[in-house]
Amino acid sequence: MKIIIKYVLLDLLRNRIVIVYTVLLAILSVSVLGLDANPAKGLLSLLNVSLLFVPIITILFATIYFFNSIEFTELLLSQPIKRKSVLLAEYAGVAASLAGAYAIGVGLPLLFLVSGTESLILVLTGILLTLIFTSLALLIFVKSRDKTKGIGVAIGTALFFTLLFDGLLIAFIYSFGDYPIDKAVIGIIAFNPIDLGRVLMLLQLDVAVLMGYSGALFKKFLGSATGSIFSLACMVFWVILPLLLSVKVFKKKDL
């Protein structure tokens, strides 16, 4: 498995899209952080970029990559290796290279320009989102028969989580604003990895304001470490769950 990861990485580290992605992130980070005298504002812009672009780019790139290497996967599978190992190795390779791209493109400039807990959490969020959406891409790959359909589903998934989900949630909050829906809302948030990432950052940047709302549960959840731990745990689940499902489906998949 290690061997396959090594070679997948070897391939991806020279992949033009990965390189361009890294460079673009780096340029973006440096310009956003450098232009503004106020680091907090730059951090916010980076957060927006991360929440908006990381999921869609990751899921698209990963889905296409998995589909393009289907013949290579077959070749590997004709060797005496477990299916699970091949699949997980490919996942690890793709996830690691994209996460690496993010860590270099966003993490490095942050380290030099705005180091601090917030920056660390932002990079962590970005990396987790990368792992999650690669994981989702893998699930899409093992579940769909052809590439075109897979890409369609990937775009749909990314759009759903970046926009549609929040739209529905705010509609829900608006219509039931008079009821005690705090608990429900926190529960719902767990179903969107992007929101979880955002909440994680929110807890860093806006604790002060979050403490200002009087909902008891809300305060307990958002005002203490519980909120961060909850969000982190949910995000880890979002990495693992699609992965496990993928492995399960892939065991039975006809190539």
């Binding site: 304001v209 403490m211 809300f218």
Partner: protein, 414 residues
């Protein structure tokens, strides 16, 4: 009365008391074996009582003469959790270098470590006052000083606890260089006028770091108010000057760095408000000059209720706040000008350092979450960014009178 004059009066007082001490001074030393009350009753005005190191299980000590009581290496006076410790009823008393601890609690009388009753020119300095209901209690006293004391308690709830420095009906006080923690209010003033409160640290008190009512013409400077249950609350007062104070990390749903209720003709300048739930909460206040302050990383930098008028907010720095300004009405009779707002993204074509388009400090999402707090969980999502942009193009929610017409592009150097 100006500050210079207050200071001059103080100097006169100090010189005067020193002179009396020099002229008639006689000194007495006591040890834990002595009964301090007997000693205090026998000495004459102007004498000095030196208290040796040790543990004195003596309390309810009444100081009836104009004497100096000076502790060596903090002799300990213990209230036994039943009584008060020192009660000063004479003028011109100095209490210095003692450790006073464990007063009782009572709902009938306010139990204090050091209580000053109807006196003037009394100084309490360099004392350690631990676990008292009230630390230093000033009652109808003038020209007194509370300087460089450490006043600590660890109260658990508001009802059973008192205040670090408590003053009622006083004037011309100097409260400086004290550290006050774990009381209900760090410093509490009621009807205290013409006083100077400076260089104190009021940290981790259950309710307010500083709390005053009907206390006109006082000056608060260089104090630090940190991590208090509800920050600082000041009410029903005019002529307050607050400058160079630091308000840090006062968090909670009813917590403010500073709550101004019915305050008028006052100045709030050069202060730092950092990481508070609300920087300044203002209600029914008028003609306050809020300038040269720094508001950083607060939940709301300011909440200004519609009941405020004639206030001026200028040349402040606002950055890293979740929301800059929130308000409960649409009318705005206050003036904002020449502030630096980090959220401003206008331009300056004529290069005068001011943005050419106005800045609206109330954001859409702050208005929305005001109505539906739960919506806060979606703050900073892509969706809310869209809302902000839409509002910028077609303003409909935010009060358009609340605006800074000449927002600064660069941060003020404060």
């Amino acid at each position: 009365m100006g500050r210079v004059e207050v200071a001059r009066r103080w100097i006169v007082c100090i010189v005067f008391s020193l002179l009396t001490a020099v002229t008639y001074a006689k000194s007495v030393r006591i040890t834990p074996a002595n009964n301090i009350q007997h000693t205090l009753d026998r000495v004459a005005d102007g004498d000095t009582v030196y208290v040796s190191k040790g543990s004195y299980n003596q309390n309810n000590i009444i100081v009836r003469k104009a004497i100096a009581i000076i502790g060596e290496e903090y002799p300990v006076f213990d209230g036994g959790k039943k009584n008060e410790v020192f009660i000063v009823i004479a003028n011109n008393v100095l209490i210095k270098g003692l450790q006073v601890q464990n007063t009782g609690r009572s709902s009938m009388t306010d139990m204090a470590g050091v209580k000053l009753q109807n006196v003037s020119h009394v100084t309490v300095s360099n004392c350690r006052i631990y676990n008292t209901t009230y630390g230093v209690y000033l009652q109808n006293s003038n020209q007194c000083k509370v300087v460089a004391n450490t006043i600590k308690a660890n109260s658990k709830d508001e009802l059973q606890s008192g205040n670090g420095v408590h003053a009622w009906k006083c004037n011309n006080l100097l409260i400086s260089h004290n550290v006050l923690t774990g009381h209900r209010d760090g410093i509490y003033f009621e009807f205290v006028t013409q006083s100077l409160i400076t260089n104190n640290k009021s940290i981790g008190n259950i309710r307010y770091g500083l709390h005053f009512m009907f206390s006109h013409n006082d000056i608060y400077s260089y104090n630090t108010f940190e991590n208090n249950g509800a920050g600082v609350a000041v009410m029903y007062t005019k002529g307050v000057t607050m400058y160079k104070n630091t308000f840090y990390r006062n968090w909670g749903d009813a917590s403010y760095a500073i709550l101004l209720k019915d305050i008028s003709d006052s100045k709030i300048e050069y202060n730092k408000f950092t990481k508070n739930t609300v920087g300044i909460f203002m209600e029914g206040s008028s003609r306050i000059h809020v300038a040269y302050n720094t508001f950083a990383d607060n939940g709301w930098a300011m909440r200004i209720q519609a009941s405020c008028d004639g206030n001026t907010f200028e040349k402040n720095n606002f950055f890293g706040n979740s929301f800059d300004v929130a308000t409960n009405g649409t009318m705005m009779l206050n003036t904002f000008r020449s502030n630096y707002w980090d959220k401003y993204d206008g331009y300056d074509l004529n290069k005068d350092g001011n943005g050419d388009i106005p800045y609206y400090p109330v954001s859409v999402y702050s208005v929305i979450t005001e109505r539906i707090p739960t919506a806060m969980i979606l703050y900073r999502s892509f969706l809310t960014n869209i809302m902000d942009e839409v509002e910028k193009m077609m303003p409909s929610i935010i009060p358009d009178q609340l605006r800074d017409d000449e927002p600064r592009l660069k941060r003020w150097k404060l």
